[in-house]
């Protein structure tokens, strides 16, 4: 029973810690991460820059050694059999994977051959992946002549060329325009249909929301929350409801009605607007509107907002994901 359960796990990590030596002393970039990813899942690692996402992913992909902790990745022990892990995973780094001057197809074939794929099969598989990932006719093109989105899809071809069971995508859509992002999401969803398990990092909430079956929220090197996007959003105290009144003087009476609603929190009045949070806002709305109507109060408008992952992040960490001035560990400097 236990064995069959373990076999269905693609990633099982326990207590992963990574400390970097920097000029200012040791920095603990990852501080004891436990995580599991099941076969066939798309799991997103969500967190701001410098939260430890990339460091954790690089540990799981055998690129850096954990300071402590253990992990089984694609059925192989990370410490004892890193080569076995490498054979079974695909890794698409944030920085790309091809030289600007190189020919796209050549880079793919050489990469495949380092996995032991023979040349003929590498060419056939590579060209098939070019078709699947919307890169027709670009096989003989220099990498630098490709657009940002095409270059990113080429990186994904590089990561898929040996048909890995588990694919790591580090910030797959960073730097792409909205259309290219949506297009890439489509391709990532299709990877799962091939039977692959996908583990990705992102600092975009909409990306995590749109793609992932499950999300792990990481901040300051620790996992601070985990669950399905919907579950995480429900942890935020409900939907945001805004009632706009026709007459601001009636606001106190509306506030009173709202405060009597079971589960309503954060009730705020601002002029002719009464705002509050309540679980399942959509279902309490009809009765609320009836009781407001019964008092003869006229409404100008009603808005209900489902909580976003941004709200989730704010609730879990006390700060917004969009804060750009989060002190980030410079991982590149630290690695050196």
């Amino acid at each position: 029973m236990l064995i069959s359960q373990t076999a269905r796990m693609m990633i099982e990590a326990r207590g992963l810690v990574r400390t970097f030596k920097t000029k200012r002393g040791p920095v603990q970039a990852v501080q004891g991460v436990d995580l599991t990813v099941a076969d066939g899942e798309i799991v997103g690692f969500l967190g701001p820059n410098g939260a430890g996402k990339t460091t954790t992913m690089r540990m799981l992909a055998t690129l850096i050694k954990p300071t402590s902790g253990t992990a089984t990745v694609a059925g192989c022990d990370l410490a004892k059999d890193p080569v076995g892990v490498r054979r079974r995973i695909g890794y698409v780094a944030q920085s790309g994977s091809t030289l600007p001057e190189a020919i796209a197809g050549d880079e793919v074939v050489d990469h495949a051959r380092l996995y032991g794929v023979d040349k003929k099969k590498a060419i056939a598989d590579g060209q098939a992946l070019f078709e699947q990932l919307d890169l027709p006719g670009l096989w003989r093109r220099q990498c630098k002549t490709l657009s940002g989105g095409q270059r990113r899809r080429l990186d994904i071809v590089m990561g898929l060329i040996h048909d890995p069971k588990l694919i790591f995508l580090d910030e797959p859509t960073t730097g792409l325009d909205p259309q290219a992002r949506a297009n890439l999401w489509e391709h990532i969803r299709r990877l799962r249909e091939r039977g692959a398990t996908i583990f990705l990092t992102t600092h975009y909430l909409d990306e995590a929301d749109a793609l992932c079956d499950r999300i792990l929220v990481i901040d300051h090197g620790k996992i601070v929350g985990a669950g399905k996007p919907e579950e995480l959003k429900q942890q935020v105290s409900g939907d945001a409801v805004r009632l706009s009144l026709a007459d601001a003087s009636q606001a106190p009476s509306v506030t009173k009605v709202v405060q009597e609603l079971p589960g309503a929190v954060a009730v705020e009045t601002d002029g002719d607007v009464v705002a509050f949070r309540i679980p399942k806002g959509g279902s309490v709305l009809p009765s609320l509107l009836r009781s407001i109507d019964a008092q003869g109060i006229e409404l100008d408008g009603v808005e209900v907002h489902r909580p976003t992952l941004d709200d989730v992040f704010l609730t879990m960490t006390g700060r917004s994901l969009r804060d750009e001035d989060i002190p980030a560990t410079d991982e590149k400097e630290a690695v050196a």
């Binding site: 920085s95 091809t98 030289l99």
Partner: protein
Amino acid sequence: MMVFKETWIVFNRSMRLSLRNPMWSILMLSQPLMYLFLFGPLLKPITAQISQGATTNAYQVFIPGLIVQLGMFGAMFVGFGLIAEYRAGVIEADRVTPASRIALMAGRVLRDVVVLVAQTVLLLLAALPLGLRAPWGGVLLSLVIVALLGATFASLSYSVALITKSEDALAPLLNGIAMPLLLLSGILLPMQIGPTWLQRLSDISPLKHVVTGVRALFRGDITSSSSLWGLFWVILLTAVGLAVGARTFKKESA
């Protein structure tokens, strides 16, 4: 052996890229060619004096120094190419494959050695009409020495490049090493004509012994102690260079 096959794959990829953009290899050759044409003639009248009567052929003294210089400088700056590959994510992409870490370095070093030997042959051919005469055996053995020297400096350059990961750090570091090595190796002029203290100082540099060895080989003294010491030093340097390079490529931060 997988490691040889993987080395071959990495070599092929690197070679293809070098051939696509041969400007760099040509530029690296222009420096010794300039020395050959603009500095070489100055040595002609004083050759007998500086070689202490061993030869009157200026190019027998000068060309060995030049090809050692090419072996050193031609390979010393390959680290810049590796930093470019690192920035493009190629090194990381290589390192997530199951390929041997040694093959990832060896394939690139092999490319550098092949380019270097081709450059050296071109340099020797250019020196022929100027009056270079040397025995075949000595020249072939010298080519082996240049190849080994190239492998040494290429590995060390890659190693430093992977550790610093920055062109800004690599350039002054390499120049800081290259200048004293060049001046103390007797590449331009034999050290015997200098004062004793400078000779003693240059004795510390293994490169000086390599240059002296290659000069003996060009005179045809293949079994002389100078050539044997030169060979000994270059083999030792190669062993150290490759070991350092392999260690850096294996290390997790590479």
